[in-house]
């Protein structure tokens, strides 16, 4: 606990650094905006959770939407904590820095989503099978007796609007910061309107006498939570498995990997090379093993390779360049590099 507390108090490095890497001015600004947006998200979702909690009653769809709102508090917290912890300079205890805090946050959030998704699918499906007719009576609002479905719909409209806007604003920032938690959060926010919309359909369905509408809407919401959870667990796990660096949406290999290799290919003095790029969260760790044509290790050339690679992108900072006699059989890249 004390070491966590120490890690949290990253002091003046917070917001300007990821580990040893000092962020360029524009990326610092992106990080500031991302943090501000996540605080706004927490405030907005927090009020949403309170309001939904007050009106949800015994509607399963409303309860599912409430749990989804509650769970959607986790990624912003994971991002804020992760960005703070990752700012720490590598030290003897954590020689690689604390970048993995992002991956840890991502995995925790993903498992929470998956578990809740499974539970809610079970819960809403059994509601349908048991043909439960959810009771929604009235509530007293400002001295008036109103059907409780109307305040539910009003609150869901409130929780529908904010996340969609916030999600759209966060998505490009996640790409620039190369932050997968922020990306997952933005994706979930963007899809959140379907949760709120589903709950509205469910409540109005009960209103017009379709008892199954509520459980069906809850099932729909549960499946979307399950889907989010499953895809996020996959991304988080493959990230922790040191899969080669991929774009923040996990759609393809990160273009920097190809650029690194193209640069090494273009050096006439390098006969063969093997590069491993590990996505630490925000930053990449790069290991280059190369075979010099003349068989000699020239320190100036090797340093130049490291400097050139670092100059490509702020994300590439921790670079190890090792001259070797030969790159192991079966590990060589095939293609233009050749031997």
């Amino acid at each position: 606990m004390t070491s966590l507390a120490r890690a949290m108090s990253s002091g003046p490095r917070h917001g300007t650094h990821f580990g040893r890497t000092e962020l360029p001015e524009d990326v610092q600004e992106v990080l500031r905006r991302a943090r501000r947006l996540e605080w706004v998200s927490l405030a907005y979702l927090g009020t949403g959770v309170v309001l939904v909690g007050l009106v949800m009653g015994s509607s399963q769809a409303m309860q599912a939407a409430w749990i989804e709102d509650l769970l959607s508090l986790i990624p912003p917290i994971a991002f804020l904590v992760g960005a703070r912890v990752a700012a720490n300079e590598p030290d003897r205890a954590y020689p690689f820095g604390r970048h993995r805090s992002v991956a840890v946050g991502h995995l925790v959030a993903a498992v929470a989503l998956l578990t809740m998704g499974l539970f809610l699918v079970y819960d809403s499906a059994s509601g349908l099978i048991e043909r439960d007719h959810p009771p929604i009576g009235t509530m007293q609002l400002l001295g008036q007796t109103v059907w409780a479905g109307w305040p539910m719909v009003a609150v869901m409209v409130y929780t529908l609007v904010g996340p969609v806007i916030l999600g759209r604003m966060k998505l490009p920032l996640a790409d620039q910061l190369h932050d997968k938690v922020l990306h997952a959060d933005a994706q979930m926010n963007k899809a959140d309107w379907m949760t709120a919309g589903g709950a509205i359909v469910g409540v109005l369905g009960i209103g017009v006498g379709l008892w199954w509408a509520d459980a069906a809407a809850a099932l729909f919401i549960a499946l979307s939570i399950l889907h989010d959870g499953w895809s996020n667990v996959q991304h988080a796990v493959t990230g922790l498995m040191d899969r080669t660096a991929r774009t923040v949406d996990d759609a393809e290999e990160h273009p920097l990997v190809g650029r690194l290799e193209a640069y090494l290919d273009s050096r006439p003095w390098i006969r063969d090379h093997h590069t491993r790029v590990r996505d630490m969260g925000h930053v990449f760790h790069v290991e280059v093993r190369l075979v010099p044509r003349d068989g000699r290790a020239d320190l100036a050339r090797l340093t130049q390779v490291g400097d050139d690679l670092r100059a490509m992108d702020w994300k590439i900072d921790d670079v190890t360049v090792a001259p070797v006699h030969r790159v192991h059989e079966g590990e060589t890249r095939t293609g233009e590099g050749g031997r």
């Binding site: 009771p135 007293q140 109005l204 369905g205």
Partner: protein
């Protein structure tokens, strides 16, 4: 899992049809099984009574009617709907079974918001708070679960009475 645009379309269709239904004179809320409409047309409200003085009391004579504050309230509610109450005096468990099977419309018997039957019946919003053994007790009535027009109208009536 349907693709996001497909899901969105399903959802939009759902919203639209809900709005259409709402616009076509279907009142919101509605009873899925039409209980309150049946009460109004048949002129009979089937009330289950489990003795729990002073809220509900046994009939004084074998052919008599039960009494108590809740029985009086339900009688007034029935009149307001243009119906007469038809009483069935039984134990709570049997009344809940009858309510679940749709053989009864309302059950009274000093029920509270902590009732273990809350998953089987529709409990109204508390209409009265009393203090028993130093704890606050919230009194409710039970209706057929999910018959939301009946429940809403009963709650509205109890709100009016509380004024």
């Amino acid at each position: 899992m349907a693709s996001p645009p497909a899901r969105a379309r399903v959802l939009a269709a759902g919203l639209l049809s809900a709005a259409l239904l709402g616009g076509c004179g279907v009142s919101i809320p509605t009873d899925p099984d039409g209980t309150l409409n049946r009460v109004r047309t048949s002129g009979e409200l089937r009330v289950g009574v489990s003795p729990h003085p002073p809220f509900t009391t046994l009939p004084a004579t074998p052919d008599g009617e039960p009494g108590g504050t809740e029985v009086e309230l339900v009688e007034q509610f029935a009149r307001a709907q243009g119906a007469e109450p038809e009483y069935v005096v039984e134990g709570e468990e049997e009344l809940v079974r009858l309510l679940e099977e749709g053989e009864l419309d309302v059950v009274v018997g000093g029920l509270t918001s902590k009732s273990p039957w809350s998953k089987k019946v529709g409990l109204t919003r508390p209409y009265l708070e009393t203090s028993e053994h130093g704890r606050t007790v919230k009194h409710v009535m039970a209706v057929v679960r999910g018959e939301n027009l009946l429940m809403s109208e009963l709650e509205r009536f109890l709100d009016e009475e509380a004024r």
